[in-house]
Assembly symmetry: C2
Homo-oligomer: 146 residues x 2
DNA sequence: TCTATAATGACAACATGTTGTCAATTACGG
DNA sequence: CCGTAATTGACAACATGTTGTCATTATAGA
């Protein structure tokens, strides 16, 4: 293994371990709202999108399987956080929109997520954070093409 | 949101998306060996460790729950890749070691993992990769303390 | 327009991770 | 040495992600 190879191995290791920590932190941050990390990410994507999104749209945006998102969305519709609305362009695939309850919950999610994220940022420093974002984005591009 | 906060949000987003891509790539790389990403990571940790490890040791090293690792290890023992050996220091918690089949498989895993990782490294560059490792390690430290 | 292809929702099976609980073992402090 | 606290394996319930399949709907090209 070259030094670069060792470094890439460590980078992969860090990503895998960080994932678990981030999910756990996100779960804890919103636990009393009854929202898991997976759910407030979906709620946020739907609520913050400028245009109405279908389930396959969500799947492409979040990089996860259509079926996973379909299940999550169906459950959140059942919980009254999201609803399906008519999609004039597609009889089969409705738009997903937040309900009023979903919108209110999203406001609270953001009220917690933003200061939490700022706290992270203050401990990392903008320059290093942006450099890491660029490197991870390049790694993701490599994996998504090859 | 400050610029740093935006950057931290992007960093988190990249880590979450990269995780899925890395698992998928690892699964594909070893698919014909019958090893998932989770399993060859366990096999590698056990095989490369200088000292014998128990299941709770593995759990601490990999940063996952004891119960997850226990299940994985039990299944891999059932598959003949790992075996439990007597732990003189603890009647209840045996050591986990690779079997001969496990060792052979680990050699093949490494023969694939190393060039794959070198390929990644060559596309990222050592300096950026190491910088990202340091930043992610700092983020992980923040999450593991607070 | 017609037809082949792609996209979509629904359902199922499965892998992997979490938390919680319980009994047994181990470790530690007085 | 003893009693208490921590660790461990086993088991269960659950959340979230994957893949595969099938029927239906959209889309695009001949």
């Amino acid at each position: 293994m070259t030094p670069g190879g060792e470094a890439a191995g460590k980078l992969i290791y860090e990503v895998l371990r960080l994932h678990g920590r981030l999910i756990a932190a996100g779960d804890a941050l919103m636990a009393d709202l009854g929202l898991s990390s997976a759910r407030w990410q979906v709620l946020g994507t739907v609520a913050a999108s400028g245009r109405p999104l279908t389930v396959p749209d969500l799947s492409r945006i979040l990089g996860q399987s259509r079926q996973s998102l379909q299940r999550l969305v169906n459950e959140m519709v059942g919980d009254g956080l999201l609803r399906f609305t008519d999609n004039p362009g597609h009889r089969r695939s409705p738009f997903v929109e937040p309900t009023e309850a979903g919108r209110l919950l999203h406001v609270e999610v953001e009220a917690r997520r933003i200061p939490w994220t700022e706290g992270i940022a203050s401990r990392l420093g903008d320059v290093d954070t942006l450099a890491a974002v660029r490197t991870l984005a390049r790694l993701r591009a490599v994996l998504e093409r090859g």
